[in-house]
Subunit: 256 residues, 4 copies
């Protein structure tokens, strides 16, 4: 234990595992990957994983590509958990908890998610800026259809299967607040208004993406970033995000 620089009176055992799939190992390896994608530049962004009633959270202000398991906070989730006032089972010494914590908890408690990722991807920021130019009332959701990658998203909570090519992906946009924790109520509001969305854009800030598993949160976050990049490039080329393409019906030879 000594060589892991952890004192024993802090539940350090919660973040020590040889299993690479353990949340305390997975969060650092995911964050390092996100850094290379430009999602968590300059300590921005974050990631949290829920396993049973334990929530593992990346700390604030750490260089994301250098994070270690011993940097991870652990929180116990209960029916009484207050999203704002909460106590940690484990707190790394010398670090600060992530300001994203109540937002991560909202995804876990309101949506049954097991993983939530927050990125500052500049594609996400640019999409919110492009929407802003449409003026008030027309800037509250990113909508795109008829792009294959849309199939990378689930239909929504308690619904089976994934979106289809002809479905519209709709991601709500909330306004940024001075303090990240203050986003929580607006995030929850957006979750209520868009019950099937797996993500919420934050104007001039970034995006929160969640999923029922780590796998789904991560691949939905990748698919969304792909779509944001595509949307910005479409805008630069003057191509609209929505189209009215009719489904192509294949004529099977056996039906002819």
């Amino acid at each position: 234990m000594a060589d892991q620089d952890m004192s024993n009176n802090n539940n350090d055992n919660l973040v020590v595992s040889e299993n690479p799939e353990h949340p305390a190992n997975l969060i650092p390896s995911l964050c390092a990957k996100f850094w290379t994608l430009g999602w968590v530049t300059g300590t921005g962004g974050g990631c949290s994983i829920k396993e049973d009633d334990l929530v593992y959270i990346a700390p604030s202000g750490v260089q994301k590509e250098l994070m270690k398991p011993s940097d991870i906070y652990v929180l116990k989730l209960s029916s009484q958990t207050d999203l704002r006032n909460r106590s940690y089972l484990r707190s790394p010494p010398c670090l600060k908890p992530s300001q994203c914590t109540p937002l991560f908890l909202a995804a876990f408690t309101k949506r049954g998610a097991s993983c939530c990722i927050h990125t500052h991807s500049h594609w996400a920021v640019l999409v919110t800026l492009i929407l802003e130019t449409r003026g008030p009332g027309f800037d509250k959701a990113f909508e795109i259809n008829n792009i294959e990658q849309i199939k990378g998203f689930g239909r929504g909570l308690d619904k089976k299967g994934n979106l289809g090519y002809h479905d519209m992906l709709r991601i709500p946009v909330i306004e940024n607040t001075a303090h990240e924790e203050d986003l929580t109520e607006f995030l929850e509001e957006a979750m209520e208004k868009y019950p099937d969305a797996y993500a919420v854009l934050v104007r001039r800030h970034g995006v929160y993406v969640w999923g029922e598993t780590v796998h789904k949160a991560k691949t939905q976050c990748e698919s969304l970033d792909y779509l944001f990049q595509l949307a910005v490039e479409m805008k630069q080329l003057g191509i609209p995000w929505l189209s009215d393409i009719e489904p192509t019906v294949p004529v099977r030879k056996s039906q002819q």
Copy 2:
């Protein structure tokens, strides 16, 4: 065997080899490389290799940079193989076969390919979107000439050598369908109409690229992605994709 987490009653031996060139090892290493290129974001895209009468296929829905040999499906190809209804020699537990399978098989059976790669590269998608703006009848093929990288493509099935600098590269575009398997008949139709093409673009979706060897499929896929990126940038700069440059005839000193 035990540490590879494979049960013996599933022909697992088909995907166990210490040779890095074995298809079950090559597909994961190729897919990891493709992930870093942004071709298979969010489990999109895929890859298949044919060796003799065995077809190795990446599964559906797996994070492409994390794929393992034990994730690979194996199919036996015969003259009776039905592209739609087929049985697997080996199926990994807990995974689903790729929806791209009948499209991969079309490249193997109709074109004698040994490897087929499917990417969701956003350059490919943007090229199909730019073509779409030309209107019906003018949007069914990507055409470019007088770019050196065109030499990276073979002249076509049963033809010797590669395209030249003054040849036109022509890649057909098919419309996307709600279900990926339904693309098969349109892909085959495009193969018949453009017998020399080594690739087919799918509108708002991506591209299928194949080759007589893994090497050729991979390098043709890279060359094509390079050309798609260049074409998008040319469009942004107002430079047309086709030119009428006359061949420069060098005057050899010995001929003067």
Copy 3:
């Protein structure tokens, strides 16, 4: 020692340590990372770390991704240190000291910084070129507000905490000079005029970024590069860098 190719009469012990956080190890690993980010292409840019009264400096003209601890210069800083005429405790054989040295020393002596990074990032250069098109008098500072990543910057020397979402980040721009050392007086002038800035842009050249710790210099440099990239993309989309967004005041349920 022999295998490190260092002669003992040159204070080589100053750059030999097994601690990865030692400046002589940290500078090469940071520079290798910066190379992958495109910040120090073609031997451009540089990095220096101050620890107590010792200053460690990357040499001139070395491929930044290949730098070794034995390539590092060491300088002793004293109250008498002349920023232009200085003597080295250690000079690697066959290398030249960085022309950035007096600029790094200015950050250490005038701002109490512990690390200074100089990049040639083309986003930084493009920002100075865009500002230049505004004409004389309007091109001397990069200003941006209402982007979350701005929170990545400290409020300034001797001030507590970081900038907020509604604060404006202001980075002065100085004109480039024929010889990099001649930038020093203009850099110092800008430091005096903008006492809270942690960075100075150099027209058509790049940026100098510093911080009270290596961590802060590195993450502020990342945040700034993120903002420069975003600013260029905003310009291409016709979106202004400054906005007049009013703070969103959350209505806490307990206050209702």
Copy 4:
């Protein structure tokens, strides 16, 4: 030797060395790096190093990120070397010599270079396409000034020192030919007309860059690619490549 898969009757000893700086080791490691930079996509581009009278050359048609020392050709350079008809000291079995060979040899024999790099970088191609839009007579050279990175280039053959910030970097452009070898006479012509240039652009194809050492060829190639990228982005922003900025003369305090 056996495990390197080399037969002894082919001077294989010429490409076997444990020294990472040996040309047969350096070319593969450089090419792998160039592949990640997008310079040698799809087997395009190449690299050659001269050491004394031996010339080491990357083969044609090999995936550049996978190249091995055993893939390298070796040629003996003599005063009688015919750039077109030449014999190899070592030829790898199953590979073809690079079509770039006579162009590499031109850099070695006409310019005293020790290393020559050929890339298909799409920034280089875009620069030649942008120049083409200026029309005949105005499209034969890329010219840029007042960008710090220009200092990364030597002043020219037999001249001391590097270009300054206020110097103009001028890179000639030659037209592409159907066969790469036919470029040779146009490359030589451009070398004669622009005796100080360390690079020649090839329209719609790429760039050849050389240097007196491997270090200089590589860093000049990086600096040039940086400038090509910057030039394309400047064009997109409507900023001209040439400016008439007057040198800023610093007023030293001691002179006041």
